[in-house]
Amino acid sequence: MSHEAVIVGGNRIPFAKAGGRYAEASNHDMLTAALDGLIARFGLSGQRVGEVAGGAVLKHARDFNLTREAVLSSALSPDTPACDLQQACGTSLEATVYIANKIRLGQIDSGIAAGVDSASDAPIAVSDPLRRILLKASAARSTKDRVAALARIRPSHLAPAAPSVREPRTGLSMGEHQALTTKSWGISREDQDALAAASHGNLAAAWDEGFFDDLVTPYQGVTKDALLRPDTSIEKLAALKAAFGGPDGTMTAGNSTALSDGAATVFLADAQWAKRHHLSALARVVDAEVAAVDHPSGADLLLAPVAAAGRLMARQGLSLDDFDLVEIHEAFASTVLATLAAWESEDYCRGVGLDGPIGTLDRKRLNVTGSSLAVGHPFAATGARIVPTLAKLLHRKGAGSRGLISVCAAGGLGVVAVLEAV
């Protein structure tokens, strides 16, 4: 018996700037709020869902079972199992794939994929030497040993270690990595600013249209994505100073995503099960692929989705023209532009093992309701933001419409997925 995994809908809380309105909210709080909104939208209160898979990139040690704990705080039946899953910025797209695969295998009838991140409530750890001394002291068998261990603490050990968004292996931040890519692909400041302005414009129009009314549940008095600047323009963006790539860099705070807080969820179900439960499906999950690049050896960190997209399209026998809509996560404007350039590059595509270039995208099909530059990018939540958004857009275009999602992630990872409207 074959099973089809369909997206029934989604829910997220509006995304906010780090240190903003969600500054006091933890990952647990935000994930629970996003789940409760989803449960309310689809009448799942008290019900047992097959599985909830979710995660966060910046995680406290106490959140080792973050998703399960959020399920227990939510209105779902406490009998609902959950697992934590993490793939950097690809987390909740990967969680979507995980749930979809379980549905397709007939292991579960329904499931929720989720992601959350708080850059405001990021874990601060004690320094590594202090941690080791404390561990030794706690393992000591006698008071004397314990005192001796603790006596090794030095003032310099007491400086806290803040989490870093640097790549562990390269010591470069995402922005510094992307600056290398921006330079080597020759992405212009003008193109980046134009893409950022379009993102804000598209998102603002979608909010005005009420597009997000059944995708978002306001939280903590935030009713709209707080990073959105409907009045921004290419001119205003052009006035900003470079943030990455040195003084003559082209990447600014305006064409790079800001650190943000938020949570997002996707409700997936077996197509037949959804029908029996009178839940209308928006789109089915066709296929997905994950790729990685060797960025420690100098590969473009955030271009891994190119290989993933190429392999996925080859497997499915699809070309770029077969996609009505394309969602490319806007880690930076230049990430999107470099991705598009890489799609067109014979050399690059062959270099990552593809048969030839992926092709040229008609920009009218790209990120039509805005993306991370305007919405914000709570790392693990972005995939679960994009999936229901694209599913709804495709559904409106009509059955059979196809969409591609491309999400780059730290560690030189790239996750892509294909959805098709039902």
């Binding site: 010591g171 470069l172 330079k183 960025h295 420690p296």
Partner: protein, 289 residues
């Protein structure tokens, strides 16, 4: 030439040896180096220290040890020989200019090692004399690691024409990794390597040797760079390193690395990628049969 062998029961304590090695020697006569080998047999490796070494240099803690770790184990014998009254090469003013080591087979952290070090090839250089500290690590008589550290002894004159030293060229390129080296890194490395040279930890000592700030140990930089490319390396290889310019602490330096036809090339540079501090080349070797 059959060498005399001095077998040490345990690694010599470094601080006294180091202090002795600093004492200037009379300049009379032609330069001499000890001709005997210094050997330690059946050395047990300290796993806790190895873990600390791996953490500090970026290696993954495995059951097999990094080749640079084996160098660290032989280092006390270097000091021991250089502190010998027979030696006219002093550590004071000696600069580590290059290093070559070959891993003949993966070496386990549980294996008991025989370390064997001697000095050789004292030869003229434009700014003094070059000398090689030659080390070997054996397990049950089987050579598993060979290392050659070449030092420049400034102000020492050796008869003959200076050998032309091959200069590796560096092609500037933007680093794809940046390392932020804190000011206390020298102190941290001293605690795992045992190298007590204050030039790495004391601003005053550094000034004495003409550096405005402490410099990080060349062998830390070596190990850190090797650790960065370690996952790409074959199981057995020879790694050549040239220390082209000391790194003053604190510092932000860059790494570039590229695969080559026979292995891997890497450079530790300033953050712009133009001035190299260390140039490394790795060539795969057939493993011991």
């Amino acid at each position: 030439m059959k060498r005399d062998t001095e077998v040490l029961s345990r690694p010599p304590r470094l601080a006294p040896a180091f202090a002795r090695s600093l004492i200037p020697r009379s300049r009379g006569g032609s330069p001499r180096i000890p001709t005997r080998s210094a050997v330690i047999e059946n050395l047990t490796q300290d796993r806790e220290r190895l873990a600390a070494y791996d953490r500090l240099t970026g290696f993954t803690l495995r059951d097999d040890v990094p080749p640079t770790w084996l160098h660290v184990l032989t280092f006390p014998l270097h000091i021991h020989l250089l502190s010998d009254p027979e030696s006219s090469i002093r550590l004071l003013g000696a600069v580590h200019v290059s290093n070559r080591m070959t891993l003949h087979r993966p070496v386990g952290a549980d294996e008991r090692l025989t370390l064997d070090v001697h000095l050789d090839a004292l030869r003229p250089h434009a700014r003094g004399a070059l000398v090689d500290l030659i080390g070997q690590v054996r397990v049950d008589g089987e050579p598993v690691w060979d290392g050659v550290s070449t030092y420049l002894a400034q102000g020492v004159s050796v008869e003959g024409e200076p050998h032309a030293v091959e200069r590796q060229l560096h092609e500037p390129s933007t680093p794809h990794s940046l390392w932020r080296l804190p000011v206390g890194l020298g102190r941290d490395y001293r605690s795992v390597s045992g190298d007590p040279n204050p030039i790495h930890t004391s601003r005053i000592a550094a000034r004495v040797f003409g550096f405005p700030r402490p410099i990080i140990h060349g062998m830390w930089t070596h190990a850190r760079a090797l650790a960065a490319i370690e996952p790409r390396l074959p199981p057995t290889y020879t790694v050549d390193v040239a220390f082209t310019k000391p790194i003053l602490l604190p510092a932000t330096v860059g790494l570039t690395s590229t695969p080559t036809a026979t292995g891997h090339a890497a450079a530790v540079t300033d953050r712009t990628g133009t001035k190299p501090h260390l140039l490394m080349s790795v060539v795969g070797e057939p493993p011991n049969k």
